[in-house]
Subunit: 271 residues, 2 copies
């Protein structure tokens, strides 16, 4: 028995999905069929959506949940006619916010992920390019410009984390893979020493690292559990000796790793 859930928006639908999914995560035993419908921004689309919600209601034998971040009142009014359980986000919070702020809502559609949102968009795209140009120790001469330099063993999660930090927060993050050559003297690699205050270390359980590496280069020395254990141990020893802040990424998503790095380093979120 599944229950259909609609995330609907006059913009990208990202906010409706984020909010809806965080609420649905509290009901682990129920199976949900998720449908996102972005850009519901005129009467025709709203009416087509009402038909779709009503159809799901008939098919499931119960009314769908509808998470709605539509800004315009007239569009919301059409949607509210559907046979769904409405979680009407703007309808719920906008009136009390207007009162508290003593200001009228501008009812501007689709602002929250737009290019004009606080002029930070270009900074984010620059940060993505920076992360790509300074990935995997490829270039170290731009480290002066970096907000952050992630270090760690190959495949410990540096690159996806740098890209997420760039896209979400506009943080310019370079990354440097620590290899066996770097580990001979248990010291921070020379190229990193003058940037000590920007360095954050990643580590990972050797068993997990071996699984990830095996996807890349199956049955190699690089992927062997022995090699992974050796590298991880040496790298963690170096972090401790050099007092580099670090975290174990094994149990965390890029969103969680990024957020913990932001908290630990005190870097400021862009939006």
């Amino acid at each position: 028995m599944k229950r259909t859930v609609f995330f609907i928006s006059d913009g990208t639908g990202l906010t409706a999905e984020a909010l809806g999914n965080s609420l649905l995560a509290q009901f682990e035993k129920i199976e949900f069929e998720r449908v996102t419908v972005p850009y519901v921004d005129d009467q025709e689309r709203a009416e087509a959506l009402v038909d779709r919600i009503n159809k799901a209601s008939r098919e499931d034998g119960m009314r769908p949940l509808v998470f709605d971040t539509i800004v315009k009142k007239d569009i919301r009014a059409i949607i509210s006619e559907a046979d769904g359980f409405m979680v009407d986000i703007f309808g719920t919070f906008l009136d009390p916010l207007e009162q508290e702020l003593q200001a009228s809502s501008s009812y501007t559609v689709g602002k929250s992920h737009s290019i004009n949102n606080e002029g930070n968009y270009e900074k984010r795209i620059h940060a993505v390019n920076f992360a790509l140009d300074n990935d995997d120790g490829a270039r170290t001469r731009h480290y002066d410009e970096a907000d952050l330099i992630l270090v760690g063993a190959s495949r410990s999660g540096k690159t996806p984390t740098c890209l997420y930090l760039a896209l979400q927060y506009g943080v310019k993050a370079a990354n440097y893979p620590i290899t066996e050559d770097d580990l001979d003297d248990q010291q921070l690699p020379e190229v990193l020493r003058s940037h000590r205050e920007k360095i954050f270390g990643l580590t990972i359980d050797p068993e997990r690292l071996a699984v990830i590496r095996n996807e890349r280069r199956p049955n190699s020395r690089y992927s062997s559990i022995k090699q992974c254990m050796h590298e991880v141990e040496e790298i963690e020893t170096m972090y401790r000796r050099e007092r580099i802040p670090f975290m174990n990424t094994t149990a965390y998503s890029v969103e969680e790793i990024s957020t913990r790095i932001m908290v630990s380093t005190g870097l400021k979120r862009l939006r």
Copy 2:
């Protein structure tokens, strides 16, 4: 006169930020000072946060707005003592959802961006690696595996869009830059012809393209408005001749471009 806004969470804070910012975007004339506090997951942190909210209230001379996605009732109870205007997302929606679903909330903390969320996490990370390996036409032999191949002029927004599609939706997106050599015969480049159904085109206003290219290679032929106009015109002609679906990225963010591509191609969102 600024107004302080807190986004607080026992997880990453991403949902509180997304919801809060989409509501605040409706009040364009008010200047907000945004503070995100993630991982408020015990009594001590909750009490420290109450002090911080109260301090902001005294300094601003008015109470801050507090967007709160904290799951646990006892932590929320502490926060609600603060001198803030509370937008209590779980408090508002969880009770009615429990009734509608005839189920109890599990009050599980920090689920919505966790690695265990529906087993889709690995797919997203694989998609990021795929995007990096198949960036900028570097390799075309994996196009069979791609969900999508973005094409367009150099610097029209392909790479950041591919990375966003991967990180957010787990879509495996390759990209192929259309160069002058490809444009001689106004046809789709040969390497793309057998993947026609996966191709989506990007275009961009030549003026904007020239600005972006000038940041990369100032005062070059590549960055000249003449060259940008020529390439864009030829590429759009090719898209039309070959009936490639395409969009102009000039006014849109990566979130918006990605969402429009998902709608246009019918690709399924992962979460």
